[in-house]
Point group: none
Chain length 408, copies 2
């Protein structure tokens, strides 16, 4: 089944809002075995809107539109769908009553122009919108379907869950299941090369994606049932795990921080951090996970050098080796353990800004992890701007922690 999405609204074309509806709908379609082939965003313009809807109606079995259902003159989606199908819009008595009641309940006078929100066309079944005044349309004719939904995400997603999702469930003949394996320490190109021939297969299909937390390998399989789809995925997953081995740190929705948290919890260890260049981003990532109180004691964000010294980094170390150094990172890891009384301490110092410091390039990071006995250290330099440098440092720090805990 070939589907496409049309997101409608001039505010999207002006970049005033990001169209999140399309991504929401797109994420819901694979499970029904529906192929999304195109997403189009277009403004509130009769000619362009009709052109886009007409093309979609011709080339796709299933079309989803969001937006343009408001009461104002520049809300044109209904009018354009009716025009493309050559059908007449008429006010539906039941919808009008419902709409007038909606306003009455809120003790607001009914603006006559809202009446257009009560219109329907012959091929259309109305989709209730309990969260707003614009009902949706399920339009079906000649083997094609157009699902017309409101633009506000709260209204659209609610309508999706209550009306559209169940209907698609009833119609679905094939399902698509996928398993994502998350790696670190390898580039997109080298993962691609290592997996070599696994690539060629169409079903299951292998996708390789560079993400902030490393390269993800996704195995997707399409089949009549969930079970049959999984049967296609399992052997490929085993092969990918055999090839990439320890580079794989998680699956599907796992976050790197949650993975590290699990290792700490399982080992019954607590963590303390002293971070400077990352400015609290490591603690922030760790505490995004529910239950982090079990293993995370805190982080000393010692942005100023004096703060590092006040909180336990020997002044001599900083003076002799510099702030941006292996010795300081290791001293910070020790200080974090001592000041926070944790089993494991992580220290990171580096350059998040765009300027060279102590003769080292922007993005240089020195990271150390210790349990008071072993000390694991890593250094790298990577710069794509301040925020990206911080994010990358968080990923590298969590990866170093992972290696440390796994080699325990």
């Amino acid at each position: 089944m070939r589907a496409e999405i049309i997101s409608i609204g001039t505010e999207i074309m002006l970049g005033e809002i990001t169209d999140t509806n399309a991504a929401f709908i797109a994420s819901k379609l694979p499970q029904f075995g529906i192929d999304l082939l195109y997403v189009t965003q277009v403004g509130d313009d009769v000619a362009r809107l009709q052109e886009v809807i007409a093309r979609a109606w011709q080339r796709s079995d299933l079309v989803f539109t969001t937006g343009g259902l408001g009461p104002t003159e520049d809300d044109l989606t209904r009018e354009c769908v009716a025009a493309v199908l050559g059908e007449q819009m008429t006010v539906d008595a039941e919808q009008e009553a419902h709409l007038r009641q909606w306003f009455a309940q809120r003790t607001r006078e009914f603006p006559e122009r809202n009446l257009k929100q009560a219109t329907t066309i012959p091929s259309c079944r109305v989709l209730p919108n309990p969260r707003g005044t614009a009902p949706g349309w399920w339009v079906q004719r000649d083997g094609h379907v157009i699902v017309v939904m409101p633009g506000p995400p709260a209204e659209m997603t609610h309508m999706w869950e209550r009306e559209v999702d169940p209907e698609l469930e009833r119609r679905s003949t094939a399902v698509l299941v996928s398993r994502t394996l998350k790696t670190s320490g390898l580039g997109e190109g080298s993962v691609d090369e290592r997996l070599g021939d696994l690539w060629k297969s169409a079903n299951p299909y292998l996708g390789i994606y560079a993400r902030r937390d490393g390269v993800h390998v996704r195995i997707s399989a399409k089949a009549p049932t969930r079970e049959e789809a999984w049967a296609l995925i399992v052997p490929v997953e085993q092969e990918v795990r055999r090839i990439l081995g320890p580079a794989i740190w998680g699956v599907d929705d796992d976050s790197l921080a949650a993975g590290v948290g699990k290792l700490l919890r399982d080992a019954g260890l607590t963590l303390g951090v002293m971070e400077s260049a990352t400015g609290g981003a490591i603690a922030d990532a760790i505490t995004d996970g529910e239950g982090s109180t079990e293993y995370f004691l805190g982080s000393l964000v010692t942005y100023a050098t004096q703060a590092k010294i006040d909180l336990g980094v020997p002044g001599g170390v900083v003076f002799t080796h510099g702030v941006i150094s292996e010795a300081t990172a290791e001293a910070m890891a020790r200080a974090a353990r001592e000041r926070l009384g944790s089993d494991v301490g992580l220290g990171i110092t580096g350059i998040a800004g765009g300027a060279e410091m102590e003769g080292q390039p922007p993005g240089t990071m020195h990271i150390a992890v210790t349990d008071g006995d072993r000390m694991l250290y890593r250094q790298y330099a990577y710069y794509q701007g301040r925020e990206a440098a911080k994010r990358r440092a968080v990923t590298e720090s969590l990866n170093l922690l992972r290696s440390f805990l796994q080699s325990e």
Copy 2:
């Protein structure tokens, strides 16, 4: 000038990532008087990609593509642009040398398949990509332009600012200039009411938008030159400033954290933080701003209660008033000042998780700011999930700091 955007990538069609590039580009075009007519998202499929590019090339003066420039076999944007224009791709010696050097610098072996990232076509001028291995293309022929850019936002936005924006600036005939005034403490409706008649004008045009960090008022003016556009904006800006006064905390790209940073810098004051529920998110936000080293000494992320006590919160206060209390927040603000030796201290304690604690609802936050003399305190409860609770707490904390510094 008619423009359109093509966002390329199967992961977009699967709803795995939201396409933020299109919104970024869309928001940049009005200032050059460029009308964006269509945005199309399409997967990594030769036939569909060529069809979409061909249609765009015909109907638009200016086409922007993002994505599909990676080294893997399913990165097809270059190939499809070349095919649509009927031009031959060849490896550019200079680009190849540059690419091999990129890998050498990172002491990574050069995967031969990355070579396709060094290809060009006759009509194309290469756009350097210092943040990645995929250079962009500025393709110009027969009065049409296609700008081919990489998909990763960090790479695309950097290329935009350094290469594309200046080129569009040179070509622009009419410009649209806008000034955004960022407020806090006022609702969308009340800003709307206060600004009253300013609303009516079409040029300059006034837009009011509710954002995470408060209500934004944007004044946009279109004119042949930047100067003439500004001449239209200035009087309106003065009027808006007169009406909204101190509710305005920043302009344009200012972040709340940067606004607070400016107040600190201007007053010659340093800041120290002790945060628990926000788990480092406050320090993270503050250190996203360049130059934060001037005024930010650090943050003590005391996630565990014992860590609060070890770092200066009197055990008696916690015992008597509870961890989630005004007294503890104030003690944390004092401890932050003392331990970090800062002029101003901020303390925040609360509940980021979904469970009630000490008889207080999820999302409860107690925030205190002190300079050792004055103490400003605020409490609120807001819960829409863990990460949203943290984000909201960061905004509230920065706003409290702002009030504190402004009332100095």
